[in-house]
Amino acid sequence: MNKRSWRRDSEVATVEMQRMTKDFGARRAVNDVSFRVPEGAITGFLGPNGSGKTTTLRMALGLVTPTSGVALFDGRRYSDIAAPRRVVGALLEATGFHPARTGRDHLRVIAQITGVPDTRVDEVLEIVELGSAANDKVRTYSLGMRQRLGLGGALLGEPEVLILDEPGNGLDPSGMAWLRALLRSQAAEGRTVLVSSHVLSEVQQTVDNVVIIQEGTLRFSGSLASLGEASLEEAFLAMTAPHGKA
């Protein structure tokens, strides 16, 4: 890794969710969820649609105010990190783009406020394989290209932690294979990766650990191996079956 001034020596970061709860009016979307994301590994954050994954991640990143509980990155709240995008790179579901901005300009806007040079924009465009479309307006991008542009935004600051909400949405099979390789290489460089999905086949060959939630409640948190003999799918279905009928 080269040592330009804006890069910092990589540190291993811990991510901890502590008793996160969120009520939307009378509905409890997330109920007392606590888990720790092991550093330098890939953790799958799994649950059916509407189980509270996105709300949990948005709370952790200061976008949604928790009813109670806190998420800590190396002991700090996200909002207390001086240059947050240099520590935590996030891609959230339905992250948006101005349709008239080019892919490169979208990344330049984030790069400037993140405090990384435009040369990093070109590096990231290569990583997410959008180099040839960089000067096209985002409105011409396919869903998969937008997803890769969003990933590019998360990678810009070379963060120690990656939080990716359904990054596989819109990717075709080759895109999925590319994504798995990308996540693997990020973890191999010592990054902590938390990736949410409702499609088990997307993640089962990739993750080291799993966190499973259903109806806003934590069902399981631990290594993939500790699930034992059962396949991830069997375990998932058993844990997320309605009213415990499995």
């Binding site: 200061g62 949604v64 959230l92 901005r101 400037q112 406020i113 405090g115």
Partner: protein
């Protein structure tokens, strides 16, 4: 992250879309059409008030400044780029403050450019009619300055409205409906007290002699609009702080 970083980032966001240039172009066209209308419709070209009325079309451009301010915030919600914005700057007050300053500056640029166009157009019509400029330089300056203040304040009001309403179409429609219809209806109900209303305060800022409607003195109109801008920005800051970004 410094405030300067946020200011520069808002400028970069503006520069990487075409909307500001489009609005700059539209405002010049509006001013030329409006002023030509004054002279074509047979107003007395020797009357100093005719020249000032022509120049005062720069005040009407403030509607574009208002919409631009709304776009600056509600547009980020519309295209969901607000997620990236708040991820980079979790301190939302800083984001709103930077937008108020940058969009107010845009209002200034828009209206100063429109003032130049307005003066050239007015002088061209006077030359065509072989009439010397009847208005004093002092009066022209006063009207021009008032119109620039109107634009700056309306841009800031726009940022406030955009942050408050967040729905782009709703915010733009609501603001335009107020100016085109509602303020007029309210004015009929409250008689001379209508001089305290927002658009009427802008008309006061034009500094024309005896307009057909009740208005505050020019300085009073200026103070009222600064107060409106301050109130909208304060409400925007208060509501942006804890609202969930989903």
């Amino acid at each position: 992250m410094t405030m300067t970083g946020n200011l520069r980032n808002e400028v970069l966001k503006l520069r990487t879309t075409r909307t500001p240039w489009l609005f700059l172009g539209i405002s010049q066209v509006l001013v030329v059409i409006g002023i030509s209308g004054v002279y074509v419709s047979g107003a007395d070209p020797y009357d100093p008030q005719t020249a000032l009325t022509a120049l005062a079309h720069v005040g009407l451009v403030s509607i574009l400044s208002l919409v631009m301010g709304i776009l600056g915030v509600a547009g980020e919600y519309r295209y969901k780029t607000i997620t990236d914005t708040y991820l980079a700057t979790p301190s939302r007050g800083k984001v709103v403050a930077a937008k108020v300053l940058v969009y107010s500056a845009f209002g200034a640029v828009l209206s100063i450019a429109s003032t130049v166009t307005a003066l050239i157009t007015t002088l061209a019509w006077l030359k065509a009619k072989d009439v010397p400029m009847p208005a004093s330089a002092g009066d022209l300056w006063q009207t021009a300055a008032g119109c620039v203040v109107w634009n700056i304040c309306f841009a800031a009001v726009g940022v406030g409205v955009g942050a408050l309403v967040r729905n782009l179409a709703g915010a733009v429609a609501g603001a335009l409906l107020w100016i085109a219809v509602v303020e007029g209806l309210v004015a009929q109900l409250i008689g001379d007290n209508a001089k305290w209303l927002a658009f009427r305060s802008g008309v006061a800022l034009e500094g024309l002699d005896s307009p057909s409607i009740a208005v505050l003195p020019q300085w009073g109109g200026g103070l009222m609009l600064v107060a409106y801008a301050g109130a909208f920005v304060a409400v925007a800051l208060a509501t942006s702080m804890r609202r969930d970004v989903t």
